[in-house]
């Protein structure tokens, strides 16, 4: 028998991370979601090409041409924050353990001298790296296609870095919340989608305290761009919009991430996984 010194949770999680990252990066889910994050890049390229051929093709809101920076901000708001980041969180977060159970490989991880919560943590870290690798290059490409339409890359570069950091924080928070949904509930994908695209947008529309139970409420405070007036819903959202301070938002997102991950780890420790024969 070799080695009886039980590795720490974090060290075990890093080993699981090593084991999982490659599997996650080259999974069918990553290919599919890679196509999804390619959508904004294609859109940005199309706008850039259209403007290059016809300068008057620059998108307009209320008759006024939108600057490159503002257009980039709209894409970040409408496509990344409201759609892509929650979608990635739902699809990966709810499947952290479920994928191993479906593939029946969970047995190999759960019969090793490591806490089960370390398996979840390692897979969560792999999720973070995987989604960051999917999203950040996409955002940078959009930036380089769109911002030079009317502005200078150098001037707005600091705001790009803020965007990238904000999206990474969003992925971390949504991933942790949906890891908890995946660890605790049956049909986690459906529940996750209802939460991300039903509950969150609904409660953000109305005044009151319920919105403080969403990730989106704190995440929107980190966005360096103005919220676009693209629809009646947006106008309504802005009317009731109360933005917490940066510090309060970062603290709240850190607490949400830590608490939901801890709860997810507890759920995985106690749950029995019966593999289908």
């Amino acid at each position: 028998m070799t080695g009886t010194q039980r590795p720490t949770v974090f060290r075990s999680a890093l080993r699981v991370f090593d084991l999982s990252l490659g599997q996650m990066l080259w999974s069918r889910r990553s290919v599919f979601l890679g196509l999804l994050v390619g959508g904004p890049v294609l859109l940005a390229f199309a706008i850039r090409a259209a403007v290059a051929l016809e300068p008057r093709a620059l998108p307009r809101v209320n008759g006024a041409a939108v600057s490159g920076g503002a257009l980039f901000g709209m894409i970040i708001w409408l496509l990344y924050i409201r759609f892509i980041v929650p979608v990635l969180g739902v699809f990966y977060g709810t499947a952290l353990i479920a994928d191993e159970v479906d593939d029946k490989t969970i047995t190999y991880l759960f019969t090793r001298p490591i806490p089960r919560s370390a398996v979840l943590l390692g897979k969560y870290l792999a999720y973070l790296v995987c989604t960051v690798l999917l999203v950040l290059p996409s955002v940078m490409l959009v930036y380089f296609f769109v911002v030079p339409l009317t502005g200078s890359i150098g001037d707005s570069f600091p705001s790009l870095l803020e965007d990238l950091a904000m999206l990474a924080v969003g992925l971390a928070a949504y991933g942790a919340v949906f890891a908890l949904v995946g660890a605790r509930l049956k049909r986690p994908l459906v529940i996750g989608l209802v939460y991300a695209f039903g509950w969150e947008p609904a409660v953000l529309l109305f005044p009151g305290y319920l919105k403080r139970l969403t990730v989106g409420y704190y995440l929107q405070a980190l966005v360096p761009h103005a919220m676009p007036n693209d629809s009646a819903v947006s106008i309504l959202m802005q009317a009731f919009r109360e933005v917490p301070s940066l510090l309060a938002s970062l603290t709240a997102l850190a607490v949400i991430t830590a608490v939901t991950l801890w709860q997810a780890g507890e759920a995985v420790e106690r749950r029995e996984y019966v593999l289908e024969q």
């Binding site: 699981v16 084991l19 599997q23 029946k104 190999y108 090793r112 001298p113 490591i114």
Partner: protein, 313 residues
């Protein structure tokens, strides 16, 4: 309450039951498994896998208690330093090579990367997979996949190995080698619990057998009666090979072969003397006279008849 299990028992179950909703997986089982090699024999659905999952801490008992190497196993990960488990399911990280996979799993035991790689290398050598260590597992044959599962179970040199159907789907030579390995591990002082639905396989490794059916242990110990019973019931063997017709011609000359038929690329043989038949089959595979034999399996209806007889008694 039964008398406490002897301190040397590798597994002690006390009124152990497991239900899946309304379905009973294991029903009020009390037993002790002594050190050495123990065979767990039962048809599919008998409760073997449930028992294996309970003694590897994957499932929590619904009722009763199970202790492995003297300690409760559920939520006791430290015990896995001393246990190696080879599961039944054919599930892998297909894109990894055999060496990468075994190294990664041994690494979870808290050893450094270099040491993990050395241990994985040694384990793959033991199961005769060194040449294929850098091939992706997705490209492994069924027999190689079984052997790489064994390698990850033994790489950290455990005191107790729990092997769930380790011979399933192996070719005759692979089977013979694996049986020899298991016996060697037993002689080296390891305790091994090995499950199968084929008496012949279990018998070739150990005479200490646990008979399980419908979630209950029917008998345990040196079960000679089963040996006699098996001869009274024809045993079916499914052989997938390159030249099934040539094999069939050869089998027809054996007096223990009662019938044979063809199915896809396989020949299905009914024999009255499985021991004799398997020995001849292994020799035949080793000689290569009738092409390659890829897979040998045996349906569990062989055992069903024996179990029906036992339950009636």
């Amino acid at each position: 309450m039964n008398a406490p299990a002897p301190p040397s028992a590798v597994v002690a179950a006390d009124h152990l039951s497991k239900w899946y909703g309304q379905v009973i997986g294991l029903n009020d089982v009390t037993l002790t498994v002594p050190p050495g090699i123990t065979g767990l024999l039962g048809p599919n659905g008998a409760g073997k896998s449930t028992f294996m999952k309970l003694i590897t801490g994957q499932l929590k008992p619904s009722k009763g208690e199970v202790r492995v190497l003297g300690e409760p196993i559920w939520r006791n990960p430290a015990l896995y330093f001393r246990i190696g488990f080879c599961p039944e399911q054919d599930a892998f990280y297909e894109r990894m090579t055999g060496l990468e996979w075994v190294t990664a799993l041994v690494g979870l035991n808290g050893v450094g990367e270099t040491q993990a790689a050395t241990m994985a290398h040694r384990a793959l050598e033991t199961v005769d997979l060194l040449e294929a260590k850098d091939k992706k597992i997705g490209a492994y044959s069924k027999g190689m996949r079984q052997r790489v599962k064994l390698a990850q179970a033994l790489a950290h040199d455990p005191d107790l190995m729990i092997l769930d159907e380790p011979l399933a789907g192996m070719d005759p030579i692979g089977r013979r080698k694996t049986i020899r390995l298991i016996k060697e591990w037993g002689r080296a002082g390891r305790s091994i619990i090995v499950s199968s639905h084929i008496l012949h396989e279990i018998e070739s490794m150990t005479s200490n057998i646990l008979l399980i059916n419908q979630g209950r242990i029917l008998a345990e110990g040196n079960v000679h009666q089963i040996r006699d019973l098996i001869d009274e019931h024809p045993h079916t063997v499914y052989i997938k090979a390159d030249e099934t017709r040539a094999l069939a011609r050869e089998f027809l000359s054996y007096d223990d072969v009662l019938s044979l038929r063809f199915e896809d690329q396989a020949v299905v043989v009914e024999t009255g003397k499985p021991d004799v038949f398997y020995a001849r089959l292994t020799a035949l595979a080793a000689s290569g006279d009738h092409g390659s034999i890829h897979e040998v399996t045996s349906p569990d209806d062989n055992l069903q008849a024996v179990f029906k007889y036992l339950v009636k008694q």
